[in-house]
């Protein structure tokens, strides 16, 4: 079977929808990974030992094993304990938690690097420990680690392809659907790759924009 790119345009809408889902799952997982990353970082640094150790174990497990394996665990594991989540939700949770662990590592480093004087400045005004962490230390830490977190988000976009394996109809699975009808894998996977590449370009530009915007407030 030779190459025939003329069949791709008739699936244009389908690929567009698939791209939409890829963007949606990436965005949802990014938000989850960011919020959970902050939470994990705060617990790791300030939490009681009772919480700290289980979370450390959790982080260690998630950093030491493949994302694909984690997706299988979450998807099938949740079914086993009686929670039958839609694949999309399982995908968001899996991707989100995976990257939350990596984000948490970065945010922890950012928190540790916040100048001690910032803490003193806030405490002197009468802010409590919790208020100081929430309003002064964490916001500054997050700003200072936007570039590496951005890199994680770029990795997340590409790793979102993995959720096709648990049946989320995003870009990769959409391409597979088209292939199952046309038997032209090369063309459609290449088309999907092109879509990823474009989304990636936009994401990178967006991140650069954010980095420039927070430049002053650092």
């Amino acid at each position: 079977m030779g190459l025939d790119f003329t069949i791709v345009p008739s699936y244009f809408t389908l690929l567009l929808i698939g791209s939409g889902w890829t963007i949606a799952i990436t965005a949802a997982a990014a938000v989850l990974s960011f919020v959970a990353g902050i939470l994990l970082a705060v617990i790791a640094l300030y939490g009681p030992a009772l919480l700290r150790y289980p979370f450390r174990l959790f982080a260690w497990l998630f950093m030491g094993t493949p994302l694909l394996l984690q997706l299988f665990l979450i998807y099938f594991g949740l079914i086993q304990i009686g929670i039958d989540l839609p694949a999309f939700v399982a995908g968001v949770i899996g991707l989100g938690l995976h990257f939350a662990v990596y984000n948490s590592d970065i945010i922890q480093a950012g928190i540790v690097a916040v100048d001690r004087g910032q803490y003193e400045g806030a405490r002197t005004l009468g802010l409590s420990r919790v208020q100081t962490i929430a309003r002064i230390v964490v916001p500054q830490a997050v700003r200072s680690v936007i570039p590496p977190i951005g890199n994680n988000m770029i990795a997340l976009l590409k790793d979102s392809a993995l959720v096709s394996v648990i049946g989320v109809t995003e870009l990769t699975l959409t391409a597979q659907l088209a292939i199952s009808k046309t038997f032209h894998p090369f063309e459609f996977y290449l088309a999907a790759a092109a879509c990823y590449y474009l989304i990636n370009l936009v994401l990178e530009a967006g991140l650069r924009h954010i980095e420039r915007r927070i430049q002053l407030a650092r």
Binding site: M1, G2, L3, W60, L61, G64, T65, P66, L67, L68, L69, Q70, F72, L73, F76, G77, Q80, K158, D159, S160, A161, L162, S164, V165, T172, A175, I179, H184, P185, F186, E187, Y189, L190, A192, A193, Y196, Y197, N200, L201
Partner: protein, 215 residues
């Protein structure tokens, strides 16, 4: 936890771990090769080579590794490339990680002080002599740790070839999850093996790094 089950199936996981190891080693070798070539291209004086190197990095880092493997494995036959799943996995993963290693190697070379080049050239060393005798030995030390990070990612990345049915660890875990409905046990078995492989690799990287620092 169903320990009986785990005891029954763990030999299959160990066998699969050998495949994961094999994949990791071959992919590392291919990735380092691609990375070295890519870095050489990106740092060369030829505009064409530089553009080629930059496109390689941009395209392979800008798209999912899974898609790259699919193009090679499923799309390959359409352009006359017939590979078995293992071969497609190694080449797909290796070329992919090579793009990341290109940037690691290039970064290390650039990080070696510019003054070093100037000093060497002032002594009368040629461009290639400077690179071989002065820059590379120093850059090699700098790149051990970041390459270790790449390799760590690569080991976990080998799980992707489960999607093209290479019987490695993740594929095995997935199959046993499907047949036993014990996802936690299977995750645990596979997870422990991955972590052992990554841990031992990390020790190796540390050892290399320490040795490089002494000399």
């Amino acid at each position: 936890m169903d320990f009986d089950l785990m005891l029954r199936v763990y030999p299959f996981f160990l066998k699969a771990a050998l495949v994961t190891l094999e994949l990791s080693v071959l992919t590392t070798a291919l990735g380092l090769g691609c990375g070295a070539l890519g870095a050489a291209a990106r740092l060369s004086r030829s505009t064409v080579l530089r553009a080629l190197g930059a496109s390689y990095v941009s395209v392979f880092r800008g798209t999912p590794a899974l898609i790259q493997i699919f193009i090679l494995y499923f799309g390959g036959p359409q352009i006359g490339i017939q590979l078995d799943a293992f071969g497609a996995g190694v080449i797909g993963l290796g070329v992919n990680i090579g793009a990341y290693m290109t940037e690691t190697i290039r970064g290390a070379i650039i990080a070696v002080d510019r003054g070093q080049t100037e000093a060497a050239r002032t002594l009368g060393l040629s461009r290639s002599e400077t690179m071989r005798k002065v820059i590379l030995p120093q850059a090699a030390r700098l790149m051990i740790r970041p390459l270790g990070v790449n390799i760590n990612a690569l080991i976990k990345g080998t799980a992707l070839v489960a999607a093209i049915s290479v019987v490695e660890l993740t594929y095995t875990a997935q199959r046993y999850i499907g047949s036993t409905y014990k996802p936690f046990e299977m995750f645990f078995l596979a997870g422990v093996i991955y972590m052992v492989i990554i841990y031992v690799t990390g020790l190796g990287v540390n050892w290399l790094d320490r040795r490089a620092r002494i000399t």
